[in-house]
């Protein structure tokens, strides 16, 4: 038996070793020159790199480049929904958009909405993640409760929010009325805006929380202990030791939250306010859907998605340039 085992091991190991060495050589990875960093590593054979990239590129092709091309081609035409008649109108769709008071309002609100949701989510999740260590009893329950919203479909959670805060029948709305607070998201635009911001943040906290808790666990205990010996209290330790060390994760979450608020909150808006009242909560991505898929104004909808795409790309680039410099990946 031991003999057989040994042969089996060598049998697997013999061809395996050169293979892994091969990858190492392809990547030109060299342990001794780690100072040059990951960015310096490259493939010597371009076809191999292309092959590894192909699956991802194909996904991008079908789910990003082809749709983008379609959107671009539709943005400059007026088209009847059935695709029968097409009229080239140049920049008319864009001119109409920027000339429309509703669109400008929608853009301004989207900006505020995105900023408040991405930063708000991150701050609250940081507090929860920070507090995790101090929850002694029922830590499992604490984590589960925070993670729960992630398991609920956006539309379902949207309907729940709409119901809870419905001024006529919602228990939470009635509680607010009992406290003497005016509350009517159907008639007070600000209330509707607060409602979708809260609903959007609530949905995204758990995502942030998972990443933050995991990364905080990665902070070396020795550093925290050293700080404790130096007399730093928990909050001080968090800001001076833990937070700088998890900055890469925080940065990643900023980008993800931004994309979430800009694109994925559409289901919440649809269920909670339908963009109303009077367009108060009509964020850009919901307007694209509403104009394109409900009202079938494809030209304008395509123009809007092109604008949205440009905004998203430029903001992400901006975030990388402005913030990434301050993030230290070297742990």
């Amino acid at each position: 038996m031991p003999a057989a085992d040994r042969t089996a091991t060598t049998g697997r190991g013999a061809p395996g070793r050169p293979f892994f060495f091969g990858i190492g050589r392809l990547l030109k990875l060299d342990g001794r020159r780690s100072a040059s960093g990951l960015k310096k590593a490259h493939f010597t054979q371009p076809w191999f790199a292309a092959g590894l990239l192909a699956p991802q590129l194909l996904i991008l092709l079908f789910f990003f480049f082809i749709p983008s091309y379609k959107a671009l081609s539709l943005a400059f035409v007026q088209i009847d929904p059935f695709g029968g008649r097409v009229l080239f109108v140049g920049f008319d769709n864009f001119r109409q958009l920027f000339g429309s008071a509703q669109y400008r309002y929608s853009a301004a609100f989207t900006l505020i909405f995105t900023a408040v949701v991405s930063i708000g989510t991150l701050l609250i999740a940081l507090v929860f993640a920070f507090a995790t260590d101090f929850v002694i009893r029922g830590r499992g329950l604490y984590k589960s409760v925070i993670l729960l919203p992630y398991a609920i479909a956006p539309v379902i959670s949207g309907v729940l929010w709409a119901f809870l805060f419905n001024p006529a029948v919602g228990p939470l709305a009635q509680l607010m009325h009992a406290l003497g607070l005016e509350w009517d998201p159907n008639r007070r635009p600000m209330d509707a805006q607060i409602l979708i911001i809260v609903a959007a943040i609530w949905k995204q906290i758990c995502y942030n929380y998972i990443f933050l808790v995991a990364s905080l666990l990665g902070v070396p205990q020795s550093l925290l202990e050293a700080a404790t010996l130096d007399g730093a209290r928990p909050i001080r330790r968090f800001f001076t030791v833990s937070l700088p060390l998890v900055m890469p994760v925080v940065f990643f979450l900023m980008v993800m939250n931004f994309i979430y608020a800009l694109f994925e909150t559409f289901g919440i808006v649809d269920a909670v306010t339908r963009g109303g009242p009077n367009g108060a909560t009509n964020i850009l991505v919901y307007k694209v859907f509403q104009d394109g898929f409900v009202l079938l104004d494809l030209g304008s909808s395509a123009a809007q998605s092109v604008v949205l795409m440009i905004v998203a790309v430029s903001f992400t680039v901006l975030q990388f340039r402005a913030i990434e410099r301050k993030v230290n990946y070297q742990v």
């Binding site: 007026q78 009847d80 695709g83 419905n166 006529a168 963009g275 009242p277 009202l295």
Partner: protein, 453 residues
């Protein structure tokens, strides 16, 4: 090829060959049998009949399928009218569309000009069915006929009527129910509120633009748009914002809302459900709500004509609901099946059955007469309100209906602008001015795109 070669190999006995062929034949039998059984021709119909109406429409399809064995209609519920239209358009562009689709009356001109339809009379004539297109009741004919023939098959036709909780009215001292005029109704609704009988005297329907603005305009003979509300050409323009009567109506609704008489249900709640549950005393809603009210309301309910202004002679209200359109690029068999189905739908028996089940108005005189003959309306007086209201007076250019391109887009715009009145961001006049201005842009866009056709 390889299979044949192996069979020719020497050494294989004839018996084995025979056995092989036999085995193959036996294996193929169920397939052949299946093909025989599947000789019924299937055709899809996408509809938008939700809630209480879904089982009724399914029963109608089942009746048709059971009544003959050549065709099978497959009904698919695609959501509300907008969702159904969006799904159909998306499917049409990739040639995955159904043969038959139901769209709202609002989509008439868009569908008519789409170039994607087969006119129903053309299809029926080609398939050898003889339908009497003159038998439609006048308001249906007035809305759907173009040069004496409908492009689509009128199907579920409705109009808004005024629903009320008779118990609440009785308690407030109005045993006869709502009065005829808006002025009197206002006093009654305020009385219901002040006497504490109901917190919500009136629920604002989601399609209030249809019942409280558009139909209001028709009933009071106000011009909604030039060119006979669009019937006279694509170069129509909205003028409803210039009517002091319509502006006053919106001012009245605003006042009611500020005084807590008129309530918005809000997302997650259905305004009609608030009436049926007894929470709200009145609502203006389609006559098709009969199906839901009859099965759901636990109180003494009633329905009556839409109120009108004091000192003004009320005209007819307009047709709402939907029609059935036949789409292009389907197989000859599918057209055959759909023609048979449409013939079934157009029969007086089906029409009368459908009307009795749902509350939609009977759309042909034959069906209407049949129901009258049965004494149906004596037993169900609220069922006749809609049809009498639709037929009231001689239709004028202002009351015949609305034929605007992309009318659903304009509906959404008006809805949004009027929400500005509820929030206090705009006055009724401003909201209507904005609606007309934005609506005109949509009309011009439609005109430009459809100029050639």
């Amino acid at each position: 090829m390889s299979l044949l070669k192996r069979w020719r190999k020497p050494g294989r006995s004839t018996a084995r060959k025979v056995a092989g062929v036999l085995a193959l034949t036996v294996a193929m039998l169920p397939l052949a049998g299946g093909e025989l059984a599947a000789e019924t021709i299937k055709a899809e119909w996408w509809h938008a009949m939700r809630g209480r109406l879904t089982p009724i429409v399914e029963e109608m399809i089942a009746n048709f399928n059971a009544g003959q064995d050549k065709y099978e209609i497959v009904g698919v519920l695609k959501g509300n009218y907008e969702e159904t239209a969006a799904a159909m358009v998306a499917a049409y562009r990739v040639n995955e569309h159904p043969t038959l689709v139901q769209t709202s009356e609002r989509a008439f001109l868009t569908m008519y000009n789409s170039g994607a339809i087969v006119p129903v009379p053309e299809l029926m004539a080609r398939e050898g069915y003889d339908i009497d297109w003159d038998n439609f009741i006048a308001p249906v004919a007035g809305f759907y006929l173009v040069d004496g023939k409908p492009a689509a098959m009128p199907f579920n036709s409705s109009t808004p009527i005024f629903w009320y909780n008779a118990d609440n009215f009785e308690a407030a001292g109005f045993p006869d129910g709502p009065a005829e005029t808006w002025q009197e109704v206002e006093k009654q609704l305020y009385a219901i509120k002040e006497q504490g009988i109901s917190e919500c005297p009136m629920s604002l329907p989601n399609d209030f633009v249809w019942s409280l603005i558009e139909n209001y305009s028709a009933i009071h003979d106000q011009e909604f748009g030039t060119k006979a509300n669009g019937f006279g050409g694509l170069d129509t323009e909205f003028t409803f914002n210039q009517s002091p009567v319509i502006v006053a109506q919106l001012e009245r609704l605003q006042k009611w809302m500020n005084d807590g008489v008129l309530h918005i249900a809000g997302q997650g709640l259905n305004p009609e459900a608030l009436f049926i549950s007894g929470d709200c005393s009145t609502i203006t809603a389609s006559t098709a709500m009969h199906a839901a009210v009859e099965s759901g309301a636990q109180f003494d309910w009633g329905a009556t004509f839409m109120p009108h202004e004091e000192g003004m002679e009320p005209m007819n209200s307009t047709i709402g609901g939907g029609a059935l359109w036949v789409l292009q690029n389907k197989s000859e068999e599918e057209y055959e099946a759909i023609a048979a189905f449409l013939n079934f739908v157009a029969s007086p028996e089906t029409q009368a059955w459908w009307s009795e089940q749902t509350g939609y108005v009977p759309i042909t005189n034959a069906a209407y007469d049949m129901m009258k003959g049965e004494g149906y309306f004596e037993a169900h007086p609220t069922r006749e309100i809609a049809i009498v209201q639709l037929n009231r007076g001689t239709p004028s250019d202002n009351s015949r209906g609305f034929r605007f391109g992309n009318h659903n887009q304009i509906f959404a715009i008006t809805n949004e602008e009027i929400q500005g009145v509820w929030t206090g961001q705009s006055t009724p006049q401003q909201a209507l001015d904005n609606s007309a201005a934005r609506g005109n842009e949509v009309l011009r866009q439609f005109e430009r795109l459809n100029a050639g056709g």
